[in-house]
Amino acid sequence: MLKYLLAKNEDIPAGSSAIYFGFSAIIWFVLGTGLGAFNASKLAFPDFVTGLEFVSFGHMRQVHVHAVIFGWISMAFAMAMMYITPALGNTKLWSEKLGIWNAFLWNVGLSLGLTVLWMGMTSGREYSDFPWFIDLYIAGFMALPLGINVWMTIINRRTQGIYTTNWFFAAATFMLIIVFIVGNLPEFFHLTGLTEAYLTWWFAHNVLGLWITPVAAAIAYYTIPKVTGNPLYSHRIGHLHFWSVVVFYSTPAAHHLMSAPLPEWLKSFASVEGVLILVPAIAFVSNILLTMQGKWNMFVENLEVRFTVTGCLMAIPLNMQGGFQQTRAINWYIHGTGWIVAHAHLALLGFSTFLEAAAVYLGLQTIMKRKLYSLTLGNVHFWMLLIGFTTYWVSMTIAGLIQGAGKIYEVPYIDVVIAEHPYMIARWIGGSMVFVGNCLWLYNMWMTARLGTLIPAGRMPHELAYER
């Protein structure tokens, strides 16, 4: 891939940047989940690896979070944009060369960012932990080139309309840049106090709500119709989804700070808007599941559909939690407990990851014109992810309820730690399963690139039989 950095744009094979982004994403996924499993082991067994600053929990937790958000999830998004945006515009990517440079600069910037975080150079602000020079790099050299490629490809499309997926791609890349610049204002201009605290959570809320959630959904809007052959159930419901994301999902940032001394009107407003995220959620889930009509056999038989539909089904508990857990009636009980950790993993490792994994499986096979090397390994990957994640989610939800009870009854804290111990072990086992599954995926994809059956021109990957 690196040889294309200096090649002429027209000499770069179509899809190269998608392949570069796709494999980078999988490698970051392996690293990110490996770090997650390692961190979880420390919460179960605090003396597992000890006495060294650079393997201490406090230095590694944020590296895990940012490796999966900006390595795995965001690079898988970029991969999907590199091949879905032109496919839906019946055209080529605006610039393969920009795409290759984008993926290269992304890997360089993320490696640098994670290294400085690991060293402890942090802004001390959750989710915007990167120091400001890394934030500027992300906005200018990671998000902006991606946006330019997506916008120019859409502008230069050879179709009359723009399909749902591409509205989301175009808007989300734009919103990501806005969120990065506005959300990090406290670091650029040294804003302090409640302004800093509130903007920290404005960033954290919107990087999830205006980047991860809509782009993941947009990918499903492509994958399910493409693989099943059914047209999208409703374009109008797609409209409802898009506009309700922009209007409702961008406003409830204050519900992350329900117990902080923010203005009460702001908390109440955020809480009501927070319930209204059920509008885009229900629109999305119903649209995808209704698109499946008559093709439910593919939920069992086809790996990409199984990943996508499982992700959509996980969006149901995700959004029921997300809509209601932030209301005052529930938030006082579960705020700051493992329940929220479980919820965050349901969003990123459940809902979102399953949709992106499908897009990466489908996209890499389509671009490389190689059938997946091994169905067995693909199935093992799916089940390792699903069982590992479910173990994690169930154990952390229970741990969170224990913590919540401990909190409101003001139980001595150490008793809560003792009660949580078995669930910390379960969390570590679940996380390790996800990590092992991802190692198998990387191997499977690598072998697909080398030895996968060639797909004849004009054929979809799922039209060919598996050989292993």
């Binding site: 406090g58 001390g124 406290p186 302090t192 409640l194 800093e196 922009v246």
Partner: protein
């Protein structure tokens, strides 16, 4: 170039309206409320001992506690040497950047700004020469920041000499280590309004954060809240044992060991043999020793001293 974008003009305008409207409600409107909050005496104390910035900054890029102020307790007047009521002062040596309230007195609120400028003379403080600050109040209990270098002639050097090392708290550097080491991933700094009063103490009030950055509330509480920890446990020795190996004082703790913050040598300058300590501790946990090995006394310039200073400052 086939720019076939006309049919989306309305869509783009609505998008701008929707996102702009959302940002107006969630950013612009709250900013009026938040900007009108006056700093409490707690916020003044906190920003004066924490300094300008606790996270990454060009003054302290590696979060090693460079250019941080110290809080000191003095019992004699640094200038005249006469005995006086014990007073807490905040000492900024040359080059230590001033906190938000000094640089932008608007952060203090209308009354405190006026008093700090007119009575406290904070505008005269210069970070080329360093300065000594106090939190003072007038007879109406209105708090303001006083630049004692201007009002009383106290220089940073004389003030540190008058206090002596045992009365100096490096809480500012300590908070930097608190952020760098990720303590806040488990220990929140935000007792909740709905409960937490009995064990973790009163939740913070509206003006308690002015000038503080980062606030580091934390969101994922896996350990006790620390906003008022210094009121619950003021024992330096307990803290020392707990940081070196939390299992020495709390067998069920899942906190990491922070023994590496002792640095290479102990208080007497003797090299600390960590391998030996860990081996002996393992023998203790296996029942081969009756008592755990002694925790070395930290050197007064070690990172752990600042971190303990910080924890004990959180009253």
């Amino acid at each position: 170039m086939n720019v076939n974008f006309r049919e989306y003009k309305m869509g783009s305008r609505f998008f701008a309206l929707a996102l702009g409207g959302s940002m107006t409600i969630t950013l612009l409107l709250p900013s009026f409320d938040i900007a009108s909050v006056s700093a409490t005496d707690i916020a003044m104390d906190k920003q004066l001992w924490a300094g300008h910035e606790t996270g990454f900054s060009l003054d302290d890029p590696l979060l090693l506690g460079w250019h941080k102020p110290v809080k000191a307790l003095i019992k004699t007047d640094p200038k005249t040497g006469q005995a006086m009521e014990p007073t807490s002062v905040y000492v900024y040596e040359k080059g230590a950047p001033f906190p938000g309230g000094i640089l932008h007195p608007d952060n203090l609120g209308v009354v405190s700004k006026k008093l700090s400028l007119e009575v406290g003379r904070i505008a005269e403080a210069s970070n080329k020469d360093g300065a000594v600050f106090l939190v003072s109040s007038n007879d109406q209990k209105q708090y303001f920041i006083e630049n004692a270098t201007a009002t009383r002639g106290w220089t940073p050097e004389d003030t540190l000499k008058a206090a002596g090392d045992e009365n100096v708290s490096h809480a500012g550097a300590g908070k930097t280590y608190f952020v760098r080491e990720g303590c806040w991933w488990c220990h929140t700094l935000l007792p909740e309004q709905t409960q937490d009063w009995q064990v973790f103490g009163a939740p913070p009030m509206l003006g308690d954060f002015n000038g503080e950055s980062p606030t580091a509330f934390g969101s994922d509480r896996k350990a006790p809240d620390l906003l008022h920890v210094g009121s619950r446990n003021a024992s330096r020795e307990w803290m020392m044992l707990h940081f070196f190996n939390p299992r020495l004082v709390q067998p069920h703790s899942i906190m990491p060991r922070f023994d590496y913050m002792w640095g290479p040598v102990d208080a007497k300058g003797v090299k600390i043999d960590y391998a030996k300590w860990r081996a002996e501790y393992n023998e203790y946990t296996e029942g081969k020793r009756v008592t755990p090995p002694e925790v070395p006394m930290y050197a007064s310039n070690s990172e752990i001293r600042s971190l303990i200073d910080f924890v004990l400052t959180m009253k």
